[in-house]
Amino acid sequence: MRQSYLKNVVTLDLDPEKCIGCGRCQEVCPHDVFALESGRAELRDRDACMECGACARNCPTEAVTVRAGVGCAYAIAIGLLRGTEPTCGE
């Protein structure tokens, strides 16, 4: 069963001008967010993005950008308390 989270919140962005159509984003995405249409990447299902950052990290031309992080309330709370980025424990 496909599970979906909140709509219209993710920071994922794709600049079609910079895309060279290498397909890495599609290869690494665990939620099938990207599609390759006539040699260019496209955002097929933006709301399915979990902001893991795999696509942006592996994009050789920085066409894909996203503020990557963990979607974890506990980590966010710890980050707030310590005044740091969200961090899981320790």
Partner: protein
């Protein structure tokens, strides 16, 4: 280094010996997994980083890359029976691939350094590595190629698909690329959630013991304990609604935000308890539980976002900004009712 019984031999290539690992898990491996799942040894369950052999690999065999969390490593090797290949274990401080990639310890720097440290270029002829797809948030494939000369191919999400992936000429099907989060995946995570709530739950039980003691006056210890236990039941239900039933029923609970889903189940439990056990007899009790129980379930359910495979940082931040103040205010009012009624609302 202590002797590991999952090392069953040695494979020699160009004058060097590499430990050969078993593709079957023994009783110690399975017990270790159970312990890590329950939270007792989770942070020290590691494998020494380095190059390992599966079967009888040659310089032409494929190279898989893995984290040095023992459970990840075990899940990988048990799927590889009958294959001949190398496993490069990189140092992720005992953290699994996905979480380590998020932190950057399963990352470009460590991978490039580990390739050099084991002298991988002298062991194998090929210049490509198969990485678990879930390592991709930490590894920039084009950087690895530039800095080490090794090309990165992202394999399937699940280790169990690796033999099929290799047979298909290193091609992953869409199903191999997708992360799933089925009933079993959610269920296997609940013990660690329950273990995490154990201490606060015991503190609460102690608090209820003191309140019932003050309110009811001196009584034999067992009687007091029985009363405290009885007044703990509504709270226990709220806790289970948050850490067990919300994860279990996640896809069928209406709504999207986890805090909302948890609140719904918490409210359902509260109404059930008020109707069946408290029978709506005391308005103070009704008010107390309606205010205090649902936010407990809501808060705990919200914490489950970190265990799922599909929640985004932006989404969780958004839901917390709304849910957290509501939870605090609701629970605060509940505690106020408890204080103003001098504990009689319990």
């Amino acid at each position: 280094m202590k002797k590991n019984d999952w090392i069953v031999g040695e494979v020699a290539v160009s004058g060097r010996g590499f430990p050969q690992v078993s593709t079957r898990l023994n009783r110690a491996d399975i017990l270790g997994s159970l312990k890590a799942r329950s939270g007792s040894s989770r942070m020290s369950y590691t494998v020494e980083p380095g190059l390992y052999a599966v079967g009888r690999p040659t310089p032409d065999s494929p190279v898989l890359v893995s984290a040095n969390y023992k459970m990840s490593f075990d899940r990988l090797r048990k799927t590889l029976s009958g294959l001949d290949l190398w496993i490069l274990v990189i140092d992720t401080k005992g953290i699994n691939v996905w979480c380590a990639a998020g932190k950057g310890t399963f990352g470009t720097d460590e991978l490039v350094a580990r390739i050099a440290q084991v002298g991988l270029g002298d062991v194998v002829k090929g210049r490509s590595l198969i990485l678990p797809q879930l390592g991709a948030p930490g590894v920039a494939a084009h950087e690895v190629l530039r800095r080490s000369g090794f090309e990165v191919v992202y394999g399937p999400v699940r280790a169990v698909d690796i033999p099929e992936f290799l047979r298909a000429g290193r091609k992953a099907t869409p199903a191999m690329r997708a992360v799933r989060f089925g009933l079993w995946d959610r269920l296997i995570l609940t013990p660690i959630e329950l273990a995490g709530i154990l201490k606060p739950a015991l503190v609460l039980l102690g608090l209820l013991f003191v309140i019932t003691w003050i309110r009811g006056g001196p009584a034999p210890f067992l009687v007091l304990l029985g009363r405290a236990g009885a007044s703990f039941v509504p709270f226990l239900g709220a806790i289970l609604a948050g850490v067990f039933f919300t994860p279990l029923l996640l896809p069928i609970i209406p709504g999207r935000a986890f805090a909302w889903k948890g609140w719904l189940l918490g409210m359902a439990w509260t109404l059930l308890y008020l109707a069946l056990a408290a029978r709506w007899q005391d308005w103070r009790t009704v008010l107390l539980y309606l205010l205090l129980l649902p936010p407990i379930a809501s808060f705990l359910a919200m914490n489950f976002t970190g265990a799922t495979t599909f929640t985004s940082l932006s989404g969780v931040v958004k839901e917390m900004k709304i849910a957290l103040p509501v939870q605090v205010i609701s629970a605060g009012l509940g505690i106020l009712v408890l204080i103003l009624t001098l504990g009689k609302a319990l």
